[in-house]
């Protein structure tokens, strides 16, 4: 089965601090994604990547940066964390089958910004 690992699983940060969420996949998938999950909003796409070195803005990119240094790793960076970024963040990977792609999700990172 596809494997996507996120770290840390839980994080408490202070307002204005820098937060980095990491994601590693062993599926050899080209595409990777960062979503956040909030009650009443479902899963919303923050950033995605088509492969090493590429990052693209999703639907809600403001306040977030992304980095894809290799096929396996995709990070989400909050340079100046704010309380509104308190959420559960999910990383996912998927192949290059276009709109037929199944996405495989990591277990999530619960972030609290105080």
């Amino acid at each position: 089965e596809a494997a996507v690992t996120q770290s840390p699983r839980n994080k408490v940060a202070v307002t204005g601090g820098k937060v980095t969420l990491s994601c590693n996949q062993t599926n050899n998938h080209n595409n990777m994604y960062w979503y956040r999950q909030d009650t009443g909003h479902g899963l919303r796409l923050i950033h995605y990547s088509y492969g090493a070195g590429s990052t693209e803005k999703g639907d809600i990119p403001d306040g977030y940066k992304a980095s894809r240094p290799s096929q396996e790793n995709f990070s989400l960076i909050l340079e100046l964390a704010t309380p509104s970024q308190t959420s559960v963040y999910f990383c996912a990977s998927g192949g290059t089958g276009g709109s037929q792609n199944t996405l495989y999700f990591g277990a999530g990172t619960r972030l609290s910004v105080l």
Partner: protein, 111 residues
Amino acid sequence: GDSVTQTEGLVTLTEGLPVMLNCTYQSTYSPFLFWYVQHLNEAPKLLLKSFTDNKRPEHQGFHATLHKSSSSFHLQKSSAQLSDSALYYCALGNYAQGLTFGLGTRVSVFP
């Protein structure tokens, strides 16, 4: 742009009764539709997805039929189990950006 609508935020039912979750979509292109299930404190996982040849996908007793004429992909199960209590997302395949998700429907099954 692409969008997915799930009309029920919460569905509560008794074990053994049928369940249907509504999903409608808007898509510029010929769509692929998915249902994901997320149990408490777990990752979303694929439950089923539409086929290209109009076959009806089934998994764990759940099934869904893609109706392009009504832009719908409702999820159904004839007899709910306690273990079906979870959050269910309908999603639309987007060639460029992965999946566009609905807001989700929480299902609570009681004995």
